[in-house]
């Protein structure tokens, strides 16, 4: 069983939803990020998404755009991101790690080399925003072959005709993007998300994580009542950014501030179904 499947099975056994956290790899610098990453499971992150920085993140709002640029300026590359995962994995064998990003850095690294290296450092899943099912031969199928889950986004524009195409070839979980829009912008109405999750459940047995627009523990709890996991990204990135000095360097309280938010979100998620 893969780490992602095992984690969702465990969550189902305990009767609660999971918290998925997103932070951009290497933001604001490699050392701070590695320390933050190491502490995320303890603070309540059940699955961890690490953004692979890209210069042109077309589906991201200002918060994650800025995070990517900070990481790039601090020297982040695909290789350094994989290195961070390797060090994390040496101390945590259970928490799933999902790399999220855009295709070009992987394309440039070389797909076969990337998958080999990602597997060997302990990456469990990939979310590549600009690879729709029409291009499954590029990365999705080779990733499955390599034993890495390829996780796809379903959106409010994914109608019943398109949904089976989106669900084809994927594993791990389905990520439902609650709004038609970029990261860090609006929030969806709970009723709309409930309807969407019900519809998705009719088409797939995979766990469903919901993201985009979830900022507070209360919102996370609302999602946790409907879906198998809630994803929080921009809100955590914003907290990180609020703890930088004028030169975009980490201030002393940064890690604790982000972890406090993760804890509060985790409580929201864990208490949701009680």
């Amino acid at each position: 069983m893969t780490r992602i499947a095992a984690r969702f099975a465990e969550l189902a056994r305990t009767g609660r939803a999971g918290l998925v956290t997103y932070l951009t790899g290497g933001d604001p610098d490699a050392a701070t990020f590695a320390a933050l990453l190491a502490a995320l499971p303890g603070a309540g992150a059940d699955l961890i998404e690490i953004g692979v920085p890209f210069s042109d993140p077309m589906a991201d709002g200002p918060s994650i755009q800025a995070a990517g640029l900070r990481a790039l300026r601090a020297g982040a590359t695909v290789a350094t991101t994989l290195g961070i995962v390797r060090r994390f994995r040496a101390r945590d064998a259970a928490t799933p790690i999902i790399l999220m990003g855009y295709y070009n850095p992987i394309h440039s690294y070389g797909v076969a080399k990337f998958l080999g290296d990602a597997k060997s450092v302990g990456v469990d899943g990939l979310i590549v925003v600009d690879l729709p099912p029409e291009h499954d031969d590029e990365l999705c199928l080779p990733a499955r072959e390599a034993g890495i889950d390829f996780i796809r986004l379903a959106t409010p524009t994914t109608d019943d005709r398109r949904l089976p195409i989106v669900l084809n070839n994927i594993s791990g979980f389905l990520y439902y993007v609650a709004i038609a829009g970029i990261t860090g912008t609006g929030s969806a109405a709970v009723d709309d998300v409930a309807k969407a999750v019900t519809r998705l459940k009719q088409h797939t047995a995979l766990p469903i994580a919901v993201g985009f627009g979830i900022k507070t523990p209360r919102q996370a709890a609302e999602i946790a009542r409907l879906a198998d996991a809630a994803v929080v990204g921009s809100a955590l990135v914003d907290r990180l950014a609020a703890n930088l000095d004028d030169n975009a360097r980490a201030r002393p309280g940064l890690i604790d501030a982000v972890l406090a938010d993760v804890s509060a979100l985790a409580h929201g998620v864990r208490d949701a179904r009680r």
Binding site: P53, F54, S55, D56, P57, M58, A59, G61, P62, Q65, L69, L72, T77, V78, A79, Y102, Y103, N104, P105, I106, H107, S108, Y109, V129, D130, L131, P132, E134, H135, R152, L153, A154, T155, P156, T157, T158, D159, R162, V166, V177, A180, G181, I182, T185
Partner: protein, 403 residues
Amino acid sequence: MPSANTYRAGPDERGLFGRYGGRFVAETLMPLILEVERAYHAARRDPDFAKELTYYLEHYVGRPSPLYFAARLTRHWRGAKIYLKREDLNHTGAHKINSTMGQILLARRMGKRRVIAETGAGQHGVATATVCALFDIPCVVYMGAVDIERQQPNVFRMKLLGAEVRAVNSGTATLKDAMNEALRDWVANVDDTYYLIGTVAGPHPYPAMVRDFQCIIGDEVKVQLQRAEGRLPDTLLACVGGGSNAMGLFFPFLDDASVQMVGVEAAGEGVATGRHAASINGGAPGVLHGNRTYLLQDRDGQIIDTHSVSAGLDYPGIGPEHAWLHDMRRIEYVAVRDEEALDAFQLLARLEGIIPALEAAHAIAEAGKRAPKLPMDHLLVINLSGRGDKDIYSVAKRRGINL
């Protein structure tokens, strides 16, 4: 793709020209892109659509544009016979309106109530704002803050035409970032918005659709030169940023084996300096803005800053069909430096009384290198893709003149 007997069969059903092109976009956009594709294919088969487009191209844009024999330029270079395809004489001053007219008619057919566009030099933004004014459709144009600074006249034109110009400060604040921002807008406004892309790039069907609308350039040249000289041209020259004016000129001739074609990229301060915008001459294949093509990128696949004196060529990619035609060696791609383009800008103004866009000046500069070595019966057609009125401020500034 059947490449043995034709270069004009692409793209395939996945939008691929060989390995280039495709539809590398976020899932939110996929249903929209498929909808644009369906609507475009239906429009192509509809004689009423062709009739309407022809009407506006003739009576509003001012087509056909002349194919002008440049006698003084020919005498100056003492070689090939130079013809200029006068896309600068179109309404709004460039070839861009050929495609914006086609696309706005498509958007209307699709019932879209809002149009967004990206622009670099502002020519596509002006052409989009123009057709939106004509058909009373709200228009938002994304433009990099750096480009806004160097293309003030076009920014003002767009505003006069009723468009909202949104400054883009993200990334390098140039054309690629404007395209990112337009894609972000589209993702957030999927229900009512048509994204009117300005060049032969982006996700399928845009590269093929924009090419088809621009092919009127080459189609006219074929007829006009036949009338003037009774034969095909020997060489076609066009500047290439994204590559829509070049593709429009070249495509109708791709299967005429005797016709040599040259795409001219912007070498900026020189390809070797790293400060340029020559995707084929100085880049490598990658994936950006919905398609696989040659890109300017670093070793980690991050898109890098481009440089060109011409804002319209200042883009780190090139249309995927160009990438394929380069690999197939059907078209030759060269690069011309800022200084050479500026000299050509001046030369054409003095010799022919035509101030060319700095983009087109790159093609003229390349012609100046080739024409003197060619025989006098060699027919060389340069696509004069736009007029240079918009550029006089930045050219003056480079010479230390404050207008």
